[in-house]
Symmetry: C2
Subunit: 282 residues, 2 copies
């Protein structure tokens, strides 16, 4: 079936991928409470943006739709890492959120100790899934390296530490950009670059630029939505620092830059990644 | 210089390895609080039993002493994972320990949020170190697979979940053995089996048996020491379940079984692993 755009791609791939995620984790984890706590957050209705982006990049690089399921382990690993980060971020001593996606946060449902362990379990299992994938060893190794680099203490974990320790300090634009890059963009960039690697596409700075742009754009769109909902205006966000209008301009510039970057990509079907940018339209 | 036994091996290798660990992590982690919190626990004076065991196995399989430093990334990864597990175990909602090795626990020194992140950072960085090691891709991939399997939700994390959720239930011998296997023995077994893999030694059930035995023996010795110190006798431990004398007998049996297992190993210099068992002598 022809795939028209990113949202069409998700409609065709997501049901199968969601089933894969649930079945695999449910089969592997024998400790009851741990399995329940891990699945509770994994099955909480996330949009799977990162693994879908990973699969879309692989597809855009020439991997046929019927072969995408061979990449589900890696796509799944990226989603496990994202899910772990949400569970730990919601903890009382971090962002202290009682709800996530309209459901009780993991630590409210299972307790703080089990939530820490559910996160630890998801993070570690991600690397197990990559190691056990059927892709070539070189591709799996690249996936381990990029994911650990971008999601670990040189990336996402560093961003989260800055976020919780700088709560009472007003960050300037440069500091805030670094924070968002680490906390949000690095995992999205990992999804895109691992996708290119796994599809034998020579990684270009254009694709990395695209990924960084949409990573930051994601954060800005989220913060604009929260600002519209009247959220806490003491937080370190661009709407609070430079105002909503200037943030909208910044967001539009990022999306334009992402578009220009991906349009320059060669040997690459640009349709999916261009249509992905529709997400940022108002 | 001739290496006489395991303790001699540690004396010769440990100073160099400790320097490697500290320098590498200090250089890599740029976020100040995160680096401080990660190094605080990594440099807290641990005996490095797991990485030394890993290196001792590699040496026993024929890796020359002057080439051991090529394996420091993998040895270090094992120690990072062990250190992360201690930080998360000490959290108030887990084992609630304020001290570790005579120093304030990580969460008492830096706060619970930063301690969770320091643990997350150490765990993720472990896989980065393996991915960036100079060993063959196949060996690195085996290290990722075994470490993630044994330290994750199919091993150590499962054990810790059982430990904190079964606190108020008396486990029977079989359940307690499973708990100790997952929580303590699985990471020690990973150290031994990854060591054999990295040294091209065909992995035998004898070596796995040795590792499982000493893993459980470790836990029993620890629990016997705590019982001598008059620790809480409501905990799920063998001294509390079957008494101190029966636990000592069990410990001796495990050490004997470990000895018999390693003595049957072929193409293997048995000296180090045999002398390692001295640790369990009273």
């Amino acid at each position: 079936m022809e795939i028209k755009n990113f949202s069409d791609f998700c409609e065709q791939v997501l049901p199968d991928f969601n089933k894969f995620l649930d079945t695999k984790l449910r089969t592997e984890i024998k400790q009851d409470t741990l399995r329940d706590a891990m699945l509770y957050s994994l099955d909480a209705g996330g949009k799977r943006v990162r693994p879908m982006l990973f699969l879309a990049v692989a597809y855009s690089c020439g991997i046929k739709q019927e072969n995408l399921s061979k990449m589900y382990d890696i796509a799944g690993a990226i989603e496990l890492v994202h899910t772990y980060s949400l569970i730990h971020d919601d903890l009382p001593e971090m962002d202290d959120s009682d709800y996530r996606r309209g459901k009780l946060a993991n630590h409210k449902k299972f307790g703080v100790g089990p939530a820490v362990l559910a996160g630890d379990g998801l993070l570690t299992q991600a690397f197990y899934w990559i190691a056990k994938s059927s892709l070539d060893t070189d591709k799996r190794m690249a996936a381990v390296r990029i994911l650990a680099h971008n999601a670990g203490p040189m990336g996402m974990v560093a961003g989260q530490m800055t976020d919780i320790t700088m709560e009472n300090k007003v960050l300037n634009e440069e500091e805030l950009t670094t924070l968002h890059k680490e906390k949000t963009a690095d995992l999205i960039t990992a999804a895109v670059t691992i996708g290119a690697f796994c599809a034998n596409h020579e990684l270009s700075s254009r694709l990395v630029q695209y990924a960084n742009d949409i990573g930051l754009a994601f954060q800005l769109k989220d913060d604009l939505n929260d600002a519209d909902d009247g959220e806490d205006n003491s937080k370190n966000t661009f709407p609070n620092l430079i105002g909503k209008e200037a943030t909208k301009t910044k967001l539009n510039d990022l999306v334009k830059d992402a578009l220009n970057s991906v349009l320059k990509e060669t040997e690459f079907d640009k349709n999916l990644l261009v249509s992905f940018l529709d997400y940022f339209k108002e």
